[in-house]
Structures are given as structure tokens and as C-alpha cells.
Amino acid sequence: MTKKNGIFDEAGPSSEDIKSNSADASGGDKMNRREFVRRSGALGLSLPLLGGLSSAASTALFPASARAAMPGQCVLGVTQEAVNFNPLLYVNTGVETSVEFIVFDALWKIDPTGKFIPNLATAIPDQENGGISKDGRSWTIKLRPDVFWHDGTPFTAADVIFTLETLMNPKVAVRSRNGHEHVDSYQAVDDHTIQIKLKDDFAPYLVSWQKTSIIPKHILASLPDINTAPFNTAPIGTGPFKFKNRVAGSYIEFEPNPKYHGGPPKLSSLIQKYVPDQQTLYAQFQTGEVDIYDLQGIPPLLYAKAKTLPGAKIELSASPFVEFIYFNCGKPQFSDKRVRQALYMAVDKKGWIDQVYYGVPIPTLSYLPPNHWAYNQNLKDPGYDPQKAAALLDELGWKVGNDGVRARDGVRLAFTMSTTAGNKSREQAQQVVQQNFKKINVEMTIKNMPASVVWGDYTVKSEFDTLMVGWDALLYPDPDYTDRIGSKLIPAKGGSGSNYVQYENPEIDQLCAKGVSTVGQTERKAIYDRIQEILLEDLPFAPIFAYQTIIGTKDRVHGYKVNPYTPISSWNTNEWSVS
């Protein structure tokens, strides 16, 4: 009993009543059996009463939120656990990107309007300031001289060169080379200037550097194996916060870096807390144990409820992820684009968004979210029209057979649709789509698998019929999409890309090549407008909607700015503060 009382004592001065109650309920040592039964009965009766206590009264009695909110400390809640903090090695975008932004810096970062702002570099190189040569292939980048690693060592051009070398080192399991494979040669001109020559035209190269955080040469260069370096779980960066400690399976704590070149952080402690269950995270956000609910965000199911929470701000953030139905164009059912068009018309996209996602996502007709600068605003939605879809299939010779399913030349218009098993929203959406297809006599079978199975060879080697999947562009926010639509980039046909739908179109290949070799945004927009137009016509994948994240922040948090161009909004943590 003493332990318990001790705990209640902490909860506040007005806990006297409860204390005596709980002492009473457990009884004295010499309680006889009959009395025990009687008292247990009383306890059983009193439990529902406890549940019925008005929440207002009890929050006054037990101010849990006052306990959780420590002055100067901000708690960021996430439902996945960050385990690798090496910005080149981690693979879990979002939760590990968050740590990257807090501890490390790239040469420049991207602000909420999509504009690049200098970070470790003094300026964004372009042709006007001489940072990029006329032909776009020679880059000169000036670095800030006043930046220090968290251990006090000065940051220099050698670190940038080392980062580039590590990215290209075949012995290091880096997640992605971020487009640096286009580099021909590089050198450090002096301690604070680097020069890079590209071997081909590559307009998205600015994004490559925005996505490449710089790692310290003085710590990593002498290690035999970077893959297993202690640095990966105890990182040293140049960022606004220093890594303090990690309690595995629980949280990571960061302490401010007073010498941060972007100005010292205002918080005295920043915590990224791992809460695996969404409902539990929501509960912790409500009780104040968590200040910011970001990343996957509040589930759409709880959106309406969350908006009524006192003392919290709930906002929507456009996400780069677009939800698609992926058609495997290599399968006989989907080889004709008109079949794909008919199927697209049969899908009730609005019903999908409203019924499954409570109307939160934004409809899109392209692989880009509609608020992106390169989004083609003139795209025309073929609309939801089952009659027209059925007529089109009839016309193409897909006749309804005795089993009620369309077929042509012995091929039934029947297929499976796969996604991660256990993803409840997607499972509901599949049922909506299944009904939609059934209306036009097309048979769709749901075949879901664990993430480690469905996104393995099943996807990469194009073994699927259709997938329900959400993806963004490779070097988002650059609109380049070559990797997913180029005909030379089909892994199932020996290519080295992510064209899992096996889409081949020479015109698209040409446009994609032109897109990455053109520099001006206006000129590029015209090219990507056309690409999006063709994709909506050919439909190798059917775009449904762009996700919107429902982000919750407690009113005590200031300076937090939602950034739709980053996977998580911890891009400006040095400006965060709590009251």
C-alpha cells in the first residue's frame, strides 16, 4: 500500500479521499473471508461509478497534464521507432528523417513554400551567382566557415567530400545515392569551397543535396565498417540539437546545441517519443504526455473528435504521398490501356475518400499532389461512370460470361489486389473498389500480405496483378518521375529502377530525359504538364488522392511550422519553444 499511496501523493494535494478509499478497499490484515467477499462486492459496485465520474472533476483532482509537461521540454510523439540515426543509412523515412533534421544539416533546406534556403552552404548555387555553369554541369558551392560539429571540431569541405565518397562506397549499405551517381568528379578547392562536375544533365541535383545530410569525416573515416559504427546510434552532427540518449523502445532525448549556426534553440530539451499504438498516442496527446502528434498523424477516424480537444491545434498538412491503384501492364488483362481507362472510370474515388478517409485526402489526377508547382491544373477527370466503363469494355470485346465475369479470348477480367495486411483503411478501401468493379462484371480478389512479403520481390519483380499503394516522387519535391515510368527502368526486365508497373512509352522516355536536362522552372513545367497528361491517358497506375496528414500540436508549443515538402515537420526545431 505504501507504494501506491506514494504515487497518489504525487498526484496532488486533493487526493486524500481516494487514498482512504483505496486503503479501505484492500482491507486490514485480519479481514475474514466473509468480510472479504462483502467488500469485494462493494468494490465491484463502485468501479462503474468511478468510470462515470465526470472527466472535468477528476482532471482537477489528478492533473496528469501538469505532471507530463516539463518546462522547456517538447515531446514529439511518433508511432514508429527510429533505430538508425546515420542519415545515409537509415531506411525508415519520416521517423528517422526527424532525427536527421534535429541532429544533422544538409547544404540547404526546403521551407514550407518549397523554396530552398541556405544551411551549411552560404548561398543556393544558380547560374546568376556563378554557382552553376552555363551548361549546368559544373557546380561551385561555398560553405559557411562558422559551423562546428557537436564535439567542437570545425566543419569543412572535407566533410562534404567524405559524405559524397561514403555515398558512393560500395561497402557501405547506404539506402539511396540520392542522384549523386550523376557526379563525374569532385574536389575541395579550399576548406570552404567544393567543385562538382556532373556527367550528364540533371536538373534535380539541387534536391539531391537538400536530401544529403553531411556526416563527420573525423569520426567515421578511420572506422573499418561504417555499417556497424557506434555513431549510427549515437550520432554527432552540426544540427540544432545534440543527441543525448536513447531508451530503446521508448524515447530519444536531444539537448540544445548552443553554438548552432542558425541561432541557439529555445527549448531546453526535445524528446521524440515512440508510442506504437495510434490510440494510445492519441490518448497521450490528449493527456499532455505528448505535445506534437506528427508523422502518420492523427487517424482520420479521430479527426472530428480531435478538433474539439481543448488546448490543442489540429491542422492538415498536404503530404507528397499519392495513393494509387497499380496495374501490372505485363499481365494480359491490363495490356490494353482502354481496359485500364474503363477500370479507372468504374472506381468511385469520392466514395473512397469520404467513406474510408472521412473526406480528409485531396483528390489528384497525377502522381503529384494538386498543390505542387508542377501539377497540371488542366487535367480532366474522366469521372465516375460505371455505365460508360461497362460500354467501353463491351466495345473492346470483353463479354460477360456464364460466371458473371467478363472475358475475352479465354482471358477473364479477374485479378488480385494486394497491399499490406492489417492496414485497416486500405482493407476498407479494397472492399469499396471490389464492389465498384463487381458492378461492371469485373472480379477483384483481395490478396493482402505482410509488408515484408508484399513489398519484396512480389512488387519489385512485378509478380502482382494490382497493388494499392501510396508513393511519392524519387527526389520529391522535384517532379522527375523517370524512375517509376522509364522503359529502361523495369526490374522485371533487367532494368534498374522502380518501374514496377512495367510501363513502356517512347514519348514518355523522351520527355523524362528532357525534363531532367532543362533548368528553368517554367520550361520544365510545360514538359511535366505533358507527362502528366499522357499518364492520365495511359493510366499505368490510377491516381486516387494525395494524403493529408492530420497534425496535432498542443497550444503550449510555439514556432512549429507544418512543412509539406518534408516527410516530418521537424525542419526548424531551433525555432520551437514551449510556454
Binding site: 506514494g6 504515487i7 496528469a64 521507432e81 539511396s176 521508448s250 520481390d457 519489385v460
Partner: protein, 318 residues
Amino acid sequence: MVRYLFNRLGQSAVLLIGVSIIGFALMHLAPGGPLAVYTLNPTVTAQDIERVKHQFGLDQPVYVQYFKWAGGLVTGQWGYSFFGGRPVSAIVLERLPATFELMGSSLLLALIIGVAIGMLAAVRRNSILDYATATAAMIALSLPTFWFGLLGIFVFAQTLGWLPAGGIETTGGGGFADRMWHLVLPMLVLAFVLVAQWSRYTRSTMLEILGQDYMRTARAKGLRPARVLLAHGLRAALVPLVTLAGLQLPLLVGGALVTETVFSWPGMGLLFVNALGTRDYPVLMAILMVGALVVVLGNLLADVIVALIDPRIKLGHV
């Protein structure tokens, strides 16, 4: 006795080797693998995936991978996690205390309450108490634990605000009282289910014992009912109860998958769920082997203790 122990340990070693081969083969032959996480990452190309696959040694035949792993295990090198590159032994060891704290306290609580309820229910057979506990046990065993967990969080954290909604301590560190405060809810939820098991088991065991001649003799001697029940009854009931305890011992290191996830309890269960989701083979194999080891040892321990309590049982003469 010593020879018996030697024999049993020898058998256990063979058993563990078998477990490792079957576990390794099943894990690697099942479709999918750790690289799927890379596929899901939009910035990763198929080229990158091939490169990482080679780095992890996943492009080698399964038997080669097994011997490499087993060879490492023998020399004390358990390998490195695919995600984070930390030594697996460190990853597993840092999770053990949390699981031990949660499972140990729940088991202890469940054992005390469960045995007490079981004995009362047996003594008062067909009474209201007996029916009430039977019903409660039925409910506890048939409803899923995550539901109890979420209900507990809803009532005690969200509505009443008495207890924290998960976690092992207040972020940034708390004292002993803070840890206990966080322990209450997950411990009660787990104990609820375990109490149900223990009480049903104790009740049936006690019922059998209550009808025995020596119990009647004890009562006839004029001993106090409490003494009859505890010194004569419970002592006899210990043998099957110790066996049950031995079987539940692996929980101490295995943890509770669902409860740990709902309460964000940083233990072995949560580690296992995460490692399974990403197919982090080295971590999964380590958990499997530690689990298998404890099952084997738990059984052995139970057998030895039973032999110590019950003089009729002689080890090695089975």
C-alpha cells in the same frame, strides 16, 4: 542427480540446435524479407536494393548464411541488426529489464491472487464467490488483452487522468515512484488474464486434494481450518503449481506482444513485433534462441524443484 542433469543438458543442446535450424530455415524460406522496407522507401531504387542485399549477405545460399550465423553465435558474436547496425546482443539485453519488470510483477501478483482465489473457490465450491470468479475468469480468458488495455487507458488515463497512458517512465526519466506509477495499468491488465489461469488451475487441484484422506485426518486431529488448508492442502497442491510456474517462466524473457505494444512498454515483446515487421533476421534469431533456451531451462528447473518438494519423485528413474 548430477548425471541426470548432464543428460538433460545434453538433450537440451541437441534440441536448441534443432530449433535454430528449423527457425532459421523457416524465416529465410518464407516469402518476403528485410529488403521490403527498402522497397517501400520512395527514394530507394532497385539498384540500391541489390547493393544492400549484397551488403547484408542475403544473396548467399541459406545454408551458407546459417553456418556464418551459427559460427558467430558459438564465438559469442550474435551478429548485427540490419536496421541500425548495432550488435544484436546489446539490443536484446537492453530490453530484458523492462520485460522482466512487467512480467515478473504481473506473474507474482497473479500467483498470489490467483492461488488465493482458487483456494477460496475450491473451499466454497458452488458458492456465489465460486461462480463469480469462474465468470470473471471466463471473461478474462475469452476477451483479447488489447481490448482490456485500451479500455484501461480510456478509463484511467483519458477519462479519469489517474494513470499515464503507456510508457515505462515519464520521458526524460523519473524516479522509482514514477516507474511504479507507469507499471500499474499494464501490470493489472496482464495479471487479470494470468489470475484467471492460476485461479482455475488452483481450484481444480485443490478440489482434488480436499477429498483426500490426509485432509480429513488433519481436520479430525482438530487442527485449525487455516492450518489444514495451508500446511496440508497447499503443500500438496504445490507440485502441479510449480510445474505451471515453470511453464510460465519463459514469459519473463519473452514478454507480452500485445500488451507491450498497447502500452508502449519497451520490452522483448515490442522488440519482437518490430523485428518481425521488418524481418530483422539477426534480431529475430536471437529472440528465438533466448526464448528456446528459457523454455528448456524452465522445464528443467520445474522438474528439479518438483523432485525437491515431492520426495516420491526421483529424478533419473522415470
